[in-house]
Symmetry: C2
Subunit: 81 residues, 2 copies
Amino acid sequence: MARISAASDKDGDLTRLGAAIRARRKSLMLSQEALADAAQIDRAHMGKIERGERNVTFLNVVRIAKALSCKPSEIAIDAGM
Amino acid sequence: MARISAASDKDGDLTRLGAAIRARRKSLMLSQEALADAAQIDRAHMGKIERGERNVTFLNVVRIAKALSCKPSEIAIDAGM
């Protein structure tokens, strides 16, 4: 999994993406652990994705979107991207 | 960079994403090399991304979108995702 420093995400893109994922998860009343399990992503990694601390891969965005019953494009739009 | 086998992309998500990137690049009359340079992505890696042979990171999708003067969400929508 790609590790990034805050400097790599200087525009805050990962922070915004993670916040959009978190907001959709909460709107579905899902715990972070439940989302991680549904998306088949390691729980600790999911926490880092939501905090914008990891440069998530596209296939993991696809998995997360499926687990949130939405599309990757909808998460990106939520994130203003 | 994340290496993926064809099996990991069994739903063809990376193939569709790569095709959407290629179509936008061609509509702008950009060479693959010019896009890679504009996005600051290694040229060989860009070819693999367009062919769906690499699990591209979200920050690289952001860079590619910027180089194509569009948003990550627009590329995802083009890809049907």
